[in-house]
């Protein structure tokens, strides 16, 4: 904070009222400008999102509940087929933890399009793989389409906030 006397030493200001006016205007216009940067370096964001997707696939394929949950936001909305929406990371943990005790998924995710705008990235693509069951040798092929919404938190971390998918009939 600069003392008003310093402003008064500037020939432009003759009274303290003028100084107060200037400081108020400066604060007002600085506040309006709110210079949060628009992110234009999407290549770095794309790399980050690729890593998140790869980690997600690894988590699913190793049925590692915590690895899968790591990249979901606390307010994740998971919209799986045949299910009511699952909202929140804890609710999702309760859903997938027992599931991962009995299933053996092996998937690949192939993004077909990613749109990034500042703090939101939306990706759609395909999931292909197989689904087995613990204690069984048989597997079935699985094919899905998906949309992932990623959002960048105020701390700069990208997280998956929305996850929806459905089947592709064989």
């Amino acid at each position: 904070m600069i003392a008003p006397e310093i402003y008064l030493s500037i020939p432009l200001f003759r009274t303290s009222k003028q100084v107060v006016l200037f400081v108020l205007a400066a604060a007002f216009f600085s506040g309006c400008s709110n210079p949060k940067e628009v992110n234009t370096d999407t290549s770095r964001d794309l790399e980050t999102i690729d890593l998140i997707r790869e980690r997600h696939v690894l988590g699913v394929n190793t049925t590692d509940v915590e690895m899968v949950l790591k990249d979901f936001s606390s307010d994740i909305i998971y919209l799986g087929p045949g299910l009511r929406p699952i909202e929140g990371k804890e609710a999702l943990r309760e859903f997938i933890a027992p599931l991962y005790e009995i299933i053996l998924p092996r998937i690949e995710m192939t993004p077909r399009d990613i749109n990034i705008k500042d703090d939101v990235a939306i990706e759609w693509g395909l999931i292909n793989g197989t689904m087995g069951q613990v204690g069984s040798d048989s597997t079935q092929n699985i094919h899905f389409k998906y949309i992932f919404v990623y959002e960048r938190s105020s701390g700069g971390e990208w997280l998956i906030t929305r996850d929806i998918y459905n089947e592709i009939a064989d």
Partner: protein, 162 residues
Amino acid sequence: MKPLISLLAAYAILFSACSNNNQPFPEQIEIEKEKIKQADITWGNAAKSKNLQEFLSLYTDNQIPVTMPPNNPSIKGKENIRNFYQPMFSMENLTVEFYPETIEISKSGDLGYVIGVYQTKIQDSTGNIINEDKGKYINIWKKQNDGSWKCPADIFNSDLSE
């Protein structure tokens, strides 16, 4: 006082110019969210009224749109989307309703999405419901150069287990 006014004016112009290179004001974001909601409602109403032309008009022109219905591959391009939905839009005994619930938008104000729920019913000639489905959807919305919002991708699935 005149130099002070000039200085304030210069200050205002400088910071206004700077702010134009950043995000829209919160009020503008709210306006855009409302536009997304209205676009999504129009999309749902077009489906409800079986107005295929209007339904298709809400998909992007400057980007190949994709719709991802369950139990089907992704359907890309307006003509393919038209061909896919045409039989459904021709079913007189089918009612379809969409309800947008959550609208989210990027800070830049030009990319958003809607999470909503849908309901479909098929009735027989006596009005009895012979098939019913409930589910959820995500519609992606992108702001166009003319300020309108259009959908480059949508997906939905049923809440009901098969």
